[in-house]
């Protein structure tokens, strides 16, 4: 039995096998495709999930977003961890 994934600043999130980020051309939106499920991403969700590459730490993803959106790092950190933890709990993100 595996252990629950807990997302923190030092975590390195990755899409496990069977989970992919895809541009849905017909609906012009981005989605995460997972076993028999899908999640539609809004612009913020997309910006976060595009940082997930199996190499970057959460901290690194947050730094990039803070620079890109010129927004307070602490606030972004909270949003990012919340979103990634939500996907981890649904079984569509590893770390």
């Amino acid at each position: 039995m595996s252990e629950p994934v807990m997302i923190g600043e030092t975590s390195v999130p990755a899409f496990p096998r069977g989970v992919r980020l895809k541009h849905d051309e017909v609906r012009t939106q981005w989605v995460i495709l997972a076993p028999e499920r899908m999640f539609v991403l809004d612009d913020i969700g997309l910006a976060i999930m595009q940082g997930v590459d199996g190499e970057a730490t959460v901290s690194g993803i947050v730094d990039d977003l803070a620079e890109k959106f010129q927004a307070p790092r602490e606030q972004i950190l909270g949003d990012v961890i919340e979103m990634l933890q939500g996907f981890a709990d649904k079984g569509v993100l590893a770390a």
Binding site: M1, S2, A34, M38
Partner: protein, 366 residues
């Protein structure tokens, strides 16, 4: 004026009705397609092209047992090529390790493997296939070793509901990411065998408590989906996310259906793959427009604030229980036929009927 309708998200490709298992709960129709009438490889590949272009994102290869088709591998490869996420909905028993590895290499994304119990005695009795359970244990292990995500589909009925805890244990022991606790839905063979399958309310309440406790205990480890039998529901399920809203089904002969049980509704006209472009069949095919949206709804649905939440529930169930497809799903406590459903549950779940009529091509044995 043509009303733009959003394209479907997913397609259930019932490649065949053939299956070595003979489960009496099967939701396939009593009149099963024979091998000679199955749609050929090229037509299936063309269908996948059309589906991807239409906006379908996921394909569920199902049946029957989809692995009974030797060309399953070709279809998985093609789905990957055209950008469709492919799921395999399987009983497992026709697979071996080489075939699984080949499917994974060709782009299969996910395996959903059914279990009929937590141990061979009950599981093989329900499946009507000696040795099936042991084979499935092996398949589950191989799926894990190959690294594909695994969903365990635990099909629950009166005979095995007391094994639910052990089935949850089984799913975690495989390292499955998801468990579907799928109480039998009463269509096709399942409807025929309802009196032998339907659990008691007491059994169901216990199962619900088991699921809730397991969800808490296994948070972040195992996602558990839970499907309750409609006969004990207070509000209907949003069947297929609404008729013709986001889902379509292709049966083994290539008929394009709004759901897998739609052929149980008399008078509906179904088109076949190739008759017209899929986009047209989806948009204005008579079977799809018949119950799409809210225009068809009688009371109590039409004035209900949930009319676009559950879409009036299941048309096939309305047909099966109320005798009309165009009335509220009797699973809804607001339906005038709801009492009928409760009465069926009360009389059939008593356990007097034990024997299954096993699924077979050619219809129920006399």
């Amino acid at each position: 004026m043509k009303i733009h309708h959003p394209p479907p998200l997913a397609i259930l490709a019932e490649l065949t009705h053939r299956c070595p298992l003979r489960c009496g709960y099967c939701s396939n129709p009593l009149e099963l397609s024979r091998r000679s009438s199955e749609m050929d490889t090229q037509a299936w590949l063309g269908l996948l092209d059309e589906a991807a272009a239409l906006g379908v994102l996921q394909v569920h290869f199902s049946g029957g047992e989809p692995a009974a088709r030797p060309d399953l591998d070709i279809m998985v490869e093609h789905a990957e090529k055209v950008g469709l996420y492919s799921n395999l909905i399987t009983s497992g028993v026709l697979l071996d390790r080489d075939r699984l590895e080949s499917l994974a290499a060709k782009g299969l994304q996910h395996v959903q493997l059914s279990f009929q119990g937590a141990e061979p005695l009950i599981a093989d009795h329900i499946g009507g296939y000696p040795g099936g359970h042991e084979k499935k244990l092996e398949i589950a292990r191989w799926v894990g070793e190959i690294g594909l995500p695994l969903t365990v589909n635990a099909v629950m009925c009166r005979e095995n509901l007391h094994q639910l805890d052990a089935m949850i244990e089984l799913a975690t022991s495989f390292g499955a990411q998801r468990l579907e606790v799928a109480n039998v839905q009463y269509y096709g063979w399942g409807l025929l065998n309802r009196a032998a399958l339907l659990p008691t309310r007491e059994q169901l309440d216990k199962a619900t408590a088991t699921v809730e406790a397991a969800r808490e205990r296994l948070k972040g480890v195992l996602v558990i989906d839970y499907v309750v039998p409609d006969y004990y529901a207070r509000r209907p399920k949003s069947c297929m996310g609404g008729w013709g809203q986001s889902f379509l089904n292709i049966n083994p002969e290539g008929r394009v259906l709004p759901c897998h049980a739609a052929e149980s509704i008399p008078g509906l006209e179904f088109e076949r793959v190739g008759d017209r472009p899929l986009v047209d069949i989806w948009r204005d095919g008579p079977a799809f427009t018949k119950f799409r949206g809210t225009g068809w709804m009688p009371e109590p649905c039409i004035s209900c604030d949930r009319r676009e939440v559950d879409w009036g529930g299941c048309r096939c169930q309305a047909m099966a229980v109320a005798g009309h497809a165009d009335v509220a799903d009797p699973a809804c406590e607001l339906s005038p036929d709801h009492d009928k459903m409760l009465a069926i549950a009360a009389s059939e779940a008593t356990g007097e009927s034990e024997a299954y009529v096993y699924r077979r091509i050619g219809g129920p044995a006399q």
